[in-house]
Each structure stands twice: as C-alpha cells, then as structure tokens.
Amino acid sequence: MSDTAVFDEMGWPGETRAPYALVDAWLKSVPHEQLALKRREAEGLFRRIGITFAVYSEGGDPERLIPFDLIPRVLAQAEWQRLKLGLEQRVKALNAFIHDVYHDREILRAGRVPEQLVINNSQFRPEMAGFDLPGHIYSHIAGIDMVRTGPDQYYVLEDNCRTPSGVSYMVENREVMLRLFPDLFRRASVAPVAHYPDELLETLRSVPPPNCRGEPTVVLLTPGIHNSAYYEHAFLADEMGIELVEGEDLLVQGDVCYMRTTRGLARVDVIYRRIDDDYIDPLVFNPNSMLGVPGLYFAYRAGNVNLTNAIGAGIADDKAVYIHVPEMVRFYLGEEPLLSNVPTWDCRLPEDLKYVLAHLDELVVKAVHGSGGYGMLVGPHATQAQLAEFAALLRARPHDYIAQPTLALSTVPTFVENGIAPRHVDLRPFVLSGGDRIRIVPGGLTRVALREGSLVVNSSQGGGTKDTWVLEG
C-alpha cells in the first residue's frame, strides 16, 4: 500500500474535486498575505478562548496552542452518509462486544475472538462482570480514528472507547472560522457542529441509572486543572450547563452519590467522567488515588448512579482486540462491516512477528497499550538506529506490539510557511450512543501532519487541526 499514489482530497495537482469547488475558488482569490494575517488573528482568538493543550514529556510552553490550519477539509453529503452508517454499525458492535465479555462471553465461547486475549488483558475489568448497564451501553462517547486512501477507501485506524478527547477543537475550530470568514459560510451550505454539547447532554440524560427518579442530574467529573484536556472538560460542562466537579466535590453515602452544593447535598445520577478507571474509587481500584470518590463503584453497582463511559470499556479499544472488530460486526449484527480495518499483524503470533521483523522498514509498529503517537515506529521514515531499537523491543516483548502497513494517507491543501501545500490528514468523528439512539454530529476533528511528508497527526507530535465541513444537500 505504501507504493500507491497519494490521494489528494481537493484533487491537486489535477482537476478539482466537486466538494472543493468553493474552497478552490476561495484559495485562488485570496492573497497569501491576507491568509497570513487571518492566521495570526485565529491564533489570537484561540489564545483568548484559552484553548490550549498540555503536551507530555516535551519541553517548552506547557500551554501550547495546537496549530490551526485555516483551509477546511470538505466532505460531500453522500461521502458523509456512507461514513455515518459505517460508524453507527461499528459502535453498535463495539458496545455489544463489551456487554458480552462482561456477561455470557458468547463471542469467546464461539471461538470468534481468542478468550485469552480478552480475559487475560489488563483492560478487562473483573469489577464489571455480571453487571447490567442502562441500555447495555458502555462506550457512550466513542472517537473513531479514520484515514482515507482514495475516493471510496476509508480505514478505521483505531477505536477510542474510553475518554476520547478533541471534540472541543471540532466546535471551536468552526466558531473561529465563522468569525474569520463569514462570507465563505454564506456561499457554502455547511452542516453545523455547534450543537454537539446539546447532543452530548441528551445522550447522557438518556442513560439514567435504574434507581433514578425524575429528570437525571448530570455532572462532568474532571481530574482537575493539571490534566491536559482540562480546557475541554470546562468547555463541555459550561456549554451543557452542568456542574464541573472534582472527586472531592462528590460524596457517596448509603451507596448514593451526592454533590456538595451551597444549599447542601444534591443527588447525582449520571457522571460524565474524564478520569481513568484506575482512579475512580480508591476502595476498589488504585488505593492511593486522590482524584476519585470513595464508594462510587458501589453506588454504580447498586444502580444509583451511571458512569459514562463505563468502567472497563477499554477492553474494546485494545490495539490487539481491534483486529477482531469486523468479526464483532458479523457476530452481533449479522452484517458485513461497512468500514474496513487496516490489515494488522499481531506480533504475539510467531508467523506475524517473523513477517514484521523482515519488513520493519515498510511498516508502522504500535505499542498495544500506547496512545497519542508515543511508542510508535513509522518504518519508512525511521533511522537505522530506530529500526534496530524496535526490532529489539519486538523480540523482547512481542505481546506488546502490532504492526500495520504504512498507509498513503490522503492529503488536503494546507497553509504552510512557503504557501499552500498538501499535507496528510486523519479524521476523528465522535459517536454518541444513548439509551434512545445514536447521534453523530456531521464531520469530526480533522488532524493534519504539518511537517512535509509526515504521517503522524497527533498533537503531541507536531500535528495541527482543521475545520471539517460536511456539505448539506
């Protein structure tokens, strides 16, 4: 796959593809000096909003802005509809899988997914066994990372079923674009994204715990201001009009969860938690956690509070479990998967490991439990020293790695130092699964690798973002 031509979504250098007609005309008419000016204006707006991102294990400005590119990424309505159906199908199957592995484990008994891969996985939480959740939903908010290699070729790169972040950029990028280029939006009919927080709140309200009476009270639980995504937590709580709380603001009494307010204790029904499983309750998980709430797990199991996403949802986004998602779609839904997986070598299998070691310079190698682009090797761009280092890692701990072909990720025109040039992108749509239905705001977060030729779009690795347009009608 690495030797196929790169698909440019605008059609560059050939004929402009239809969805990009307006963007192309705009880029031809607007002087680059004006774009540079607008870019500085955009940066000012982001600074004022306070949207920053703390990057781990890197020096420099801890409150660094993620670079924003002014040129939107555009999808036609028909393209989006196809993606949307595939996303709904995939997330349904993922939720069915998580429910199954914590109940009857039918897919394991049927031998369709290896039992050991699930049961002896560190993401499998025994604390969830035999526990029925409202609507049987575990990953209420899922971020599905997609890449495109051709007009009709999309691949799912990974599923983020725990606490996917980045949706605040999706909303803010649009907000900034609307302010900078109101004319553009008068000429194009772009599906809105500003209502994402409303859709999220409706989703959270649709999964009250069994013992909830009346309209559920929803709060957002954050680890606090030192978390890299704290801005997003504050933003979403504010937009939804719900309380942003930390562990010490909550109290469990008689296996019921309350929040401390100026008027006393108020019962809490649904918690959109942005803290990891290990920190939720020191009485069950990490005993040294200061972030969680003692007893919260028991209130959860007693049916007095619901947590989104559920504890243990991570079993579905393990990079080795990922390999089996198409099989989940067939097993639970009896349908053929609409979205493809990237072909993946599972390094725990001797045959696969052998292939990977022999073709290391062509492949992308990822740590099974890694995220954010850490612990990753892009073979074609790696030095001899990096290749040797990964070969040693693979031989020592094959269970911790998977490998995939280096995909020719699609490109989108991007405003860089020396003008406008194609840069590789991915897409993270956010899929909301409620007790009533699935909601997806059109588009998602487009991440762009700003360095020429780079395929790594993670913001921690020098990636930026773009506004994502889904054209209406």
Partner: protein, 267 residues
C-alpha cells in the same frame, strides 16, 4: 454442622478521624453447600445490608461516618449450616471464567523464588489433587505460621523471602505458585472453627481450579482441604479483591484494631 459466628472488630483512632469511609465484604457469597440461617452485620449497633454484588459475585456495601470518629465497631453475627465437601465447591454460579484467575496481581506477582517453589512440584503423579496437596505442604514448610509477622500489604514474594506469615500469606504464596503451574487460583476470605474449645478466627485460604472437579479449596496454613468447619465469605484474585473491610479516612492518627471472633459448634 451448625456454626455460630460472632465476629466483632473495634477500630480506635488515636486522634478522632474527620470521616471514615469503608467498603465491606462481610456477607457470604452463595455456593459451597453453606445454608445461611441468619447473617447480620452491624456498624456501631446499626444494621447494614448488602446493596450490590461486586464483579467476583461478593455481596457488598459501603458506609460513611462523618467525624469526629474516635472509635468504630463492626459486628458480624451469623448462624450457618455447613457440610464437609472435601473442599469441592461444585454448585457455585461464577461470574468470571476460570482462565481469569490465572492473572497475577501486585500481591501475588511471581518472582524467581516463587517460580522455583512451583517448579519443584511439577511431578503430576497421583493426579492434580495429589500434586496440589504436595504444593500446599511445601508452601507451609517454607512459610512458618507466626502471627503479626506480616501486614495486609505483604506480597507472596515478600512472605516467602521472610519465611513466616499468617493465613493470608500462605494463601498468597499458594495462589502464586499454583498459577505458575498453570492452575487458575483465587483467594477466599471467611471463618474457621478451628478447635473444640471454640477458639476461632477469621481465616483465608485458596481455591484452585482443577480440570475434573472445578474449584477446590486448599488451606495451606492447616495443610487440608476445607471441611465443615469452614465458612466462605468472599473471593477474588488476592486479599485486596476479597478484603472484608477496605477503608479510607480523613484525619485520625494511629488506627488500632481489636478483633474478637467466637465461632461455636451448635447452640
């Protein structure tokens, strides 16, 4: 056998605690042929019922006491009819597959000494049960029973290196070595009516999954499979999962414990 359990625990705080929060696993998990005639748990004289089951199937509840708290009493009073099944569990409904109990934990992590102890019992002559009895004996020989020689966070590796411990440590060492031999193994907390004079205690032992019989109890401390003098309460991968009481508190220095357990036969 009809057993009467009276288990009282008194927590005293050197300096009053502002808040004490506890999760209790003090109610018996179903299975093992025990018939519960009566089972009451009281916190400072107030009755507490289990409100949920955890993932291992253990009934559980939490309680919080807002301070100042100088002391706190937990009393379990129970009447149970038991039978001798030679440790074979048989009838329990399991929420997790046996394979799960091959996973090790911090308290049961393998080290070279534990591995060597396990490797010395690879001889399968006489069948799995005979092999496990030999393992059980070797664990007991290497870890002397000595009260107060370890604490609740002592790992299997530490207990073996120390050469002494209590029933919790015997169970952890047996679990770690059984897993190293490929047997799913788990921790059981409960009660044991140990002698004719009624002297008894909270106790802990292991359950090991064997191919023909399913889960079978092994008490390394006493080198036997549990009989009618044993009452199962909670199970898990290790002590942390099955602990009768796990707590956090704000303030309150130097927690001390007084435990009184009486288990009598008949009434």
């Amino acid at each position: 056998m009809h057993l009467t359990i009276h288990h009282g625990t008194l927590y005293r705080y050197g300096e009053a605690a502002n808040r004490v929060f506890q999760a209790l696993r003090l109610w018996p998990i179903p299975g093992g042929g025990q018939v519960i005639r009566d089972w009451r748990v009281e916190i400072d004289g107030r009755k507490l019922r289990p409100t949920c089951r955890d993932g291992f199937g253990n009934p559980a509840a939490t309680h919080v006491i807002d301070g100042p708290v100088a002391s706190l009493s937990i009393v379990v009073h129970a009447e149970v009819d038991t039978q001798d099944r030679h440790g074979v569990l048989g009838d329990a409904v399991e929420s997790l597959p046996p394979l799960f109990y091959l996973n090790s934990t911090e308290l049961t992590a393998i080290d070279p000494a534990l591995q060597a102890l396990a490797d010395a019992q690879r001889d399968t002559s006489g069948g799995e049960i005979a092999q496990l009895h030999r393992l059980c004996d070797s664990v007991r020989e290497r870890v002397e029973y000595r009260s107060d020689s370890t604490h609740v966070t002592t790992s299997a590796a530490e207990a073996l290196a120390h050469g002494a411990g209590v029933c919790q440590d015997h169970a952890h060492v047996l679990i770690a070595t059984a897993r190293a031999l490929g047997f799913p193994a788990r921790y059981v907390s409960g009660y044991l009516c140990a002698s004719a004079d009624g002297a008894a205690a909270s106790h802990a032992w292991a359950e090991i999954h064997v191919s023909k019989l399913g889960w079978v109890g092994f008490d390394a401390t006493n080198r036997i499979c549990p009989d009618e003098r044993y009452v199962r309460v909670a199970v898990g991968r290790d002590y942390r999962d099955a602990a009768p009481v796990r707590g956090v508190r704000h303030g309150g220095l130097a927690e001390t414990l007084e435990v009184r357990v009486r288990i009598g036969e008949g009434q």
